[in-house]
């Protein structure tokens, strides 16, 4: 099977979840406002079913 070539121009912004982090806290880091966590949740609906359930090491898209 051919290996998928990495796109050097992919501008998707990623965040790897660390111990103790919540979507609220991640939103505060990137946006300065925790209440905008829904933006991150919506951008990751394919992997996140519940905004309160994120796992350490999980990679999240940050729009």
């Amino acid at each position: 099977m051919a290996e998928e070539k990495e796109d050097a121009w992919d501008a998707t912004q990623w965040h790897e979840v660390k111990k103790g982090e919540t979507l609220w806290k991640i939103a505060e880091t990137y946006y300065g406002d925790g209440s905008l966590y829904t933006k991150i949740f919506e951008a990751n609906r394919d992997t996140l079913k519940d905004p309160n359930l994120i796992k350490v090491g999980q990679k999240l898209r940050i729009p």
């Binding site: 121009w9 501008a11 990137y30 946006y31 300065g32 406002d33």
Partner: protein, 204 residues
Amino acid sequence: MIGGGKRMKKWLKPMVLMVLVLFVAACASGKKPAEEAIKAAEAAINAAKGEAMKYLPDQVKTLEDGLTAAKEALAKKDYKAALSAAKDLPGKANDLAAAAATKKEELTKAWKEMSGGLPKMVEAIKSRVDILSQSKKLPANIDKAKFEGIKAGLPEVTQMWDDAQKAFSGGNLADAISKAKTIKDKAVEMMTTLGMQVPAGAKS
């Protein structure tokens, strides 16, 4: 001695004439090769010029200057100099055509990469700016004045991208690339200011 002088005079006239004939013949024989060399050089330069002007205009000018020098020498009846100036020009014109083709290939590749990547960068910036605009307080690493500057500069970047695409559609690849590079630099600066990860392709 006087008699010898008369004999000399008798031979001198035809001798001078012969020398003159030989000189004129020598000059005339150099004219045709010089003219032909100039004709060949001009044809080769004209053939290479079209594409080369778009990608290597300085080198086209060098060849044209060489051709002008050859023509000037021809006009002054200095056929040796005219031939010398013109004889290498067809080969140089062929080299220039090959170099222009290589340059075009490089620029096309660069355009292909940037035209695929830049819209992704601009979209990512727009998305981040849109969300940050809804924030009650900007993150500590983002300066408010700089953020406002980015917000105000985004329409200009979009306009520049439209211009770059128009230049490409119009066949002006070098101009399109130049505009795309400016957009790339601006996008990288914006992403860095916003604390975003810059794509690897945009770092080179």
